[in-house]
């Protein structure tokens, strides 16, 4: 086995490193900077060059972080390692590990449709593919993102005409920037941001991602400023007093879970936009097929149905327990968001 699942996470014995470990380890290879994949306390971190600034922003400033370019391969012990774009958020990587000719690829979180905020996903051929399965049911099929952005722009326009601010909730890291970038050129008014979002906007811009102008909402305290504005905030800000400053608002949540009406209604927001940074069912199956893998390990999400589907098609598939969460529709995934929302 090139990789094994241990109590600290996915481990490569040949190279003596972990991938996205959930306990502090000596050497951690990080697929991307979301809290469930990039945890504090490891001795040394390795990530993609594209994702270095984001990862540094999320870790202890003193953490030792090294990075490599896409596809650049190097030796760790007996393992040959390289990182390849996963298209999930800025710098998100798949990890390719080769030991004595046997190739394993760990997908991390990934999505197939390209967007302006990160390098698009590339399928990598391998013998064993370890994939996420956040949206691993056939009910999850994304519409082209252009259509979803049209709807968001239409909602924003209607709110501006009604004199309301449009508050959209999405993860502070990744989803927020994708939303902002996706609305470039169709702004109905200013884009205001929650501090957690603004902090990461800066990191994205510094990494070379083009985003429309945004203003940290703390600077725009006048209510008059907010009507007609788009406010981008992390899910944690839902129903928080932080929203009071915007006066009349309409709320929306951007997440793949919004495809299902029940989840949409339970969120108690006015609108749900099914926009996800993960693969949907057809893209998941296509991605697995494109790797040519004979063995597939399925982690966080709808593991059992995906495994059964793959087995019925002759693949060697197995469900692997992990502490990765993928996209949750719960609060709390944005650790950084807490500070500002809790404040006065």
């Amino acid at each position: 086995m090139v990789l094994t699942m241990t109590s600290a996470g996915l481990y490569c014995e040949a190279g003596d490193f972990y991938i996205d470990p959930w306990k502090p380890v000596e050497r951690a290879v990080i697929t991307h900077a979301h809290g469930d994949h990039a945890r504090w306390g490891s001795h040394a971190y390795l990530c993609s060059a594209e994702g270095e600034a984001v990862l540094r922003a999320r870790l202890d400033p003193a953490a030792r972080v090294q990075s490599v370019s896409w596809g650049e391969s190097f030796q760790l012990g007996e393992a040959r390692l390289s990182l390849h774009p996963a298209g999930h958020i800025l710098g998100s990587a798949q990890v390719r590990v080769e030991v004595r000719g046997e190739v394993w690829v760990v997908s991390g979180d990934y999505k197939a449709e390209p967007d302006a905020t990160c390098t698009p996903f590339e399928p990598i051929r391998c013998h064993t593919f370890i994939t996420e399965s956040t949206f691993g049911l056939p009910i999850y099929r994304w519409r082209p993102q252009r259509e979803v952005f049209d709807e968001i722009a239409e909602w924003w326009r209607a709110n501006r005409e009604a004199g309301r601010a449009s508050v959209i909730f999405g993860y502070a890291l990744g989803k927020a920037q994708r939303l902002i970038a996706g609305l470039a050129g169709r702004e109905e008014g200013p884009i205001l941001t929650h501090g957690a979002v603004e902090r990461l906007n800066r990191v994205y811009r510094a990494s070379g991602v083009q985003l429309p102008a945004t203003t940290h909402a703390a600077a725009a305290t006048e209510r008059a400023d907010a009507s007609g504005a788009l406010v981008v905030a992390p899910p944690l800000a839902t129903n928080s007093p932080w929203l009071n400053r915007f006066g009349a608002i309409s709320t929306a949540f951007a997440s793949g879970w919004m495809r299902v009406r029940g989840t949409r209604r339970r969120r108690s927001v006015d609108r749900g936009f099914a926009l996800s940074d993960h693969v949907d069912w057809p893209a998941l199956l296509a991605a697995i097929e494109a790797t040519g893998a004979e063995r597939v390990w399925v982690t966080h999400g709808y593991r059992e149905p995906v495994v059964r589907w793959l087995r019925e098609r002759g693949l060697e598939a197995e469900a692997i327990a992990s502490l990765w969460e993928g996209e949750t529709d719960e609060e709390g995934a944005d650790d950084l968001a807490a500070e500002e929302t809790a404040g006065p």
């Binding site: 056939p138 099929r141 495809r259 009406r261 029940g262 339970r266 609108r271 059964r308």
Partner: protein, 529 residues
């Protein structure tokens, strides 16, 4: 259909009543009258009967989407709604349709009834190819008989009023009873003047709010009529043009369900409408609601069940007298006329609902406390000068129910809910102690807020002992205060009791499982009833 689906989305995406009314009024003002008629029909809570067996739909959807049945089942578990699951699983439509709502309903949906399977399949598969997103969801809901728009009747009435400039009370009345969704009916609904020929039409029911203040704040007792609050089926008995009609509050024509009332109705003078409560009744007192339920549940009313569960109409208001609508007369006058009509308090199965004798508010308070002994749910307080209004309004009529029973119970099973709650465990089974064993006695799924439900869901997932399909047994740790309205013996329940309207009133995080109540406590309540 596109426009109606858009209206559905608009209603679905706001909780603000103003926006809901504006969306409906906008639709009704611009839609062709035959579409508007169907929209009113659906918005008022009517829905077509199920036209195609659900398993057929599921089979066709699996076939078209290439999804095996186990994966269909997984998907359904996750979505919690069959019509939606099918809508999401099917491949996207390859064309679109501009057919109007009424034509979709009249030409494609209703003719499905009784058709052979292959004909149904052809129509439905064709529809799936033309409808995407919300349109497809609405269509599936319509064919499975589960279509429902969560909008209060009063808002629909307000929207029709706004779209037509006819006052709301008139609209509410015109909508009562057997309203047919046709263009002509919609024209009649919104016409300034109407020649109202429907002799069966009931009046909109006037409903009471729960009392929100201390009764002493209602002013002098003399301004109020106090009655018992009965636990039966609210109904209007109509006698017009030599015919009798009985309407339930759900606006169902139930004349045939209650032959003894229909017969007695024949003795009423023409042009009479009585408002009251249908109760199972014997020896001058009500039988438990469960008895009435037993009778309602029967398809055929044989002499046996009619003998076992006779009914009475306990009358408390008179809405029409001598063919005249007297709803604007003060309650005191209407009651006097009702007493005159029913004679000395009863006329066959029609009985006058007695007023509660009270010298002061303390007496009313006492009466409320003793309501269970009267087989009542509490007391009603109605202003003696109040007209008979429309819908639920604050101020003139109040209901003051007895405090519910309550016990502390331990959660022992949990299962996911449906629809909005499909991804969470929201249906719980509770138990009390009998010796050192926990005996389940009630299920409840309401009373917790969304944050509590999510927290409990996480706890349930981490503390599952066993899974039986969707049901999980959990470690018996969590204690909840449960409230319920009634309790009776039941041989169908292992605990030997059945409770009515159980709900969670508090999550007793301060209590341990051993502190929960015992079965003896419940049995003790039986004796008090």
């Amino acid at each position: 259909m596109k426009r109606f689906a858009k209206l559905f989305d608009e209603l679905d995406s706001t909780t603000r009543t103003g926006e809901k009314v504006a969306a409906m009024a906008g639709y009704l003002a611009s839609a062709p009258p035959d579409d508007a008629a169907w929209a009113v029909h659906f918005l008022s809570g009517n829905r077509p009967k199920r036209l195609v067996p659900v398993r057929r739909l599921a089979a066709w959807a699996m076939e078209l989407s290439g999804v095996p049945s186990w994966l269909f089942e997984e998907s359904y578990q996750s979505v919690g709604d069959l019509a939606e699951t099918i809508a999401l699983l099917l491949p996207p439509p390859d064309r679109s349709s501009d057919l109007s709502l009424s034509r979709w309903i009249e030409e494609r949906l209703l003719p499905l009834s009784g058709q052979a399977e292959d004909v149904q399949r052809e129509v439905i598969v064709q529809a799936w190819g033309e409808l995407g997103g919300t349109e497809r969801f609405v269509w599936n809901k319509l064919i499975t008989g589960g279509f429902r728009v969560g909008v209060a009747r009063s808002l629909v009435v307000r929207a029709i009023g706004r779209a037509s400039d006819v006052d709301e009370a008139t609209i509410a009345h015109r909508l009562m009873g057997a309203w047919e969704p046709t263009a002509a009916a919609f024209h009649a609904l919104v016409a300034a003047e109407t020649t109202d020929a429907d002799i069966s039409r009931p009046y909109p029911f006037f409903l009471a709010y729960p009392l929100e203040v201390a009764p002493t704040e209602l002013g002098p007792l003399e301004q109020w009529v106090t009655e018992w609050k009965w636990d039966g089926i609210r109904a209007q008995v109509i006698r017009r043009a030599g015919r009798t009609y009985i309407w339930s509050r759900g606006e169902e024509l139930v004349t045939e369900r209650f032959p003894e009332l229909a017969e007695a109705g024949g003795l009423l003078p023409d042009g009479t409408v009585i408002d009251g409560e249908i109760l199972a009744w014997r020896n001058d007192r009500p039988l438990p609601f469960a008895e009435l339920q037993r009778r309602i549940g029967r398809k055929k009313l044989g002499p046996k069940i009619l003998g076992e569960v006779p009914v009475a109409l306990v009358a408390y208001d008179l809405l029409e007298l001598g063919g005249e609508d007297i709803r604007q007369h003060p309650l005191g006058d209407r009651r006097m006329e009702l007493e005159r009509l029913l004679g000395a308090g009863s006329r066959g199965p029609f009985r006058l609902s007695p007023t509660v004798a009270a010298e002061d508010w303390e007496d009313v308070r006492q009466a409320r406390r003793s309501a269970r002994a009267m087989d009542a749910e509490g007391v009603m307080l109605k202003r003696v000068d109040s007209p008979y209004g429309v819908g639920r309004r604050r101020g003139a009529w109040w209901k003051w129910k007895v405090d519910p029973f309550s016990v502390d119970a331990v959660m022992v099973y949990a299962q996911p809910g449906h629809g909005r709650r499909a991804t969470l465990h929201t249906d719980y089974t509770f138990a009390v102690w009998s010796g050192d064993e926990l005996v389940p006695f009630a299920k409840a799924y309401s009373g917790l807020n969304d944050a509590e439900i999510r927290e409990l869901d996480r706890w349930i997932r981490r503390n599952t002992v066993e899974k039986f399909g969707p049901v999980r047994s959990v470690r018996p740790v969590q204690v909840f205060e449960l409230s319920f309205e009634g309790i009776r013996r039941s041989s169908r329940h292992r605990s030997g009791v059945a409770v009515r309207f159980p709900r969670i009133t508090r999550w007793r995080t301060d209590k341990r499982a051993e502190d929960a109540d015992r079965l003896e406590t419940l049995l003790g309540m039986l004796e008090g009833v």
